[in-house]
Symmetry: C2
Subunit: 180 residues, 2 copies
DNA sequence: CATATCATGTAACCGGTTACATGATTCC
DNA sequence: GGAATCATGTAACCGGTTACATGATATG
């Protein structure tokens, strides 16, 4: 699923500007999809060319003007088709786990720091998810709540595993040090 | 962390050919890092040019000849430096969750299929991790076991959440259908 | 003789990131 | 006046994927 398709999805929830779409990405999708302005703005331009969205300039009081995008019928149809064809992949890219695999090349202090940092990041993500779940201005379909529930359950399980087992890992590696 | 750096990491565990490195990626790293031949072979060529690895042709009986790569001192040093500078990121890119967020644009049958497929994929990943943990020819440091433990805990929690809550999600969306 | 596995590579392409560039408006 | 937020865009770059191309060896 590319940024273009996801923009159609966001617009299926209501008209929005590029800037506002970026916010939806950050608020509602950030734990499973990341996109920056550098991909969103060109995506919207292309979708406009293709007739999947229309664009209108909207003047605002107390704010700079913005371009509000609106999903067309063909855009909605294209999005539904894309959804039906999308394989439900779930990919992880984790430098954290790479560091763990090569933990014996780190000092115990470095490893402890890595684990601490990961715990802090998990907590950040969890509070971000909790903050968004139940907020009105956020995407709040039952499906979104379900996705948030899965993410939460997985993060909490990972957190728990780290808290429960880190002492053992750290001690095992320290002993290895003294052995040599 | 790029493929080049990860190749140094694999070679820090022992000499290997490109083909063998690919296997390590598949066996030990596949649940948190994916890489194909198209990135591994060019990476090894570049590492050779940079002096981080050396390469020697090895003839084999009953098999085509292979190029075995060996980590140099500067390669080992470069890898340790890279590890120390790596932020322990853990990124998820999930089309599965995108489908969930827009579940109301799917038929109940499609949604059920998506959930079923995800459960099957989780089971595949879990059995893959179990198969690798404890196998001798696999990377088997205590850090690798720890990473596998986290992955396992997270996958099982996600699996459990789906199994426990999918009925509710499916029924909620079916009712929505009859409402209209 | 076909299929599978082992083995190595190249080149085009693609999607996304990063950095750059600009400017309005608001609040302290 | 400076910082923060709102707002839109472009262009270079980069890492990785995909498809292509080749060929040895082994097994059924």
């Amino acid at each position: 699923m590319d940024v273009k398709t996801l923009c159609l999805g966001v617009l299926s929830l209501g008209d929005a500007s590029g800037y506002e779409i970026k916010k939806v990405f950050e608020d509602a999708f950030s734990h499973f999809y990341v996109a920056g302005f550098g991909s969103i703005y060109p995506a919207l331009a292309e979708l406009t060319r293709e007739g999947y969205v229309t664009c209108s300039d909207v003047e605002q009081e107390k704010r700079p003007a913005k371009k509000v995008y609106h999903l067309t019928g063909s855009g909605a149809a294209a999005f539904r088709t894309a959804l039906a064809e999308t394989y439900p992949s779930h990919k992880v890219r984790s430098d954290f786990m790479v560091l763990l695999v090569f933990a014996d090349l780190l000092t115990p202090a470095q490893l402890a720091g890595v684990l601490q940092q990961r715990l802090a990041d998990i907590d950040d993500t969890l509070s971000h998810i909790r903050a968004c779940t139940g907020r009105d201005d956020c995407v709040s379909s039952s499906g979104a709540a379900f996705a948030a529930g899965i993410a939460r359950a997985m993060l909490e399980a990972g957190r728990e595993y780290i808290v429960q087992n880190r002492e053992g890992l750290l001690q095992g590696l320290e002993n290895k040090d003294t052995e040599s």
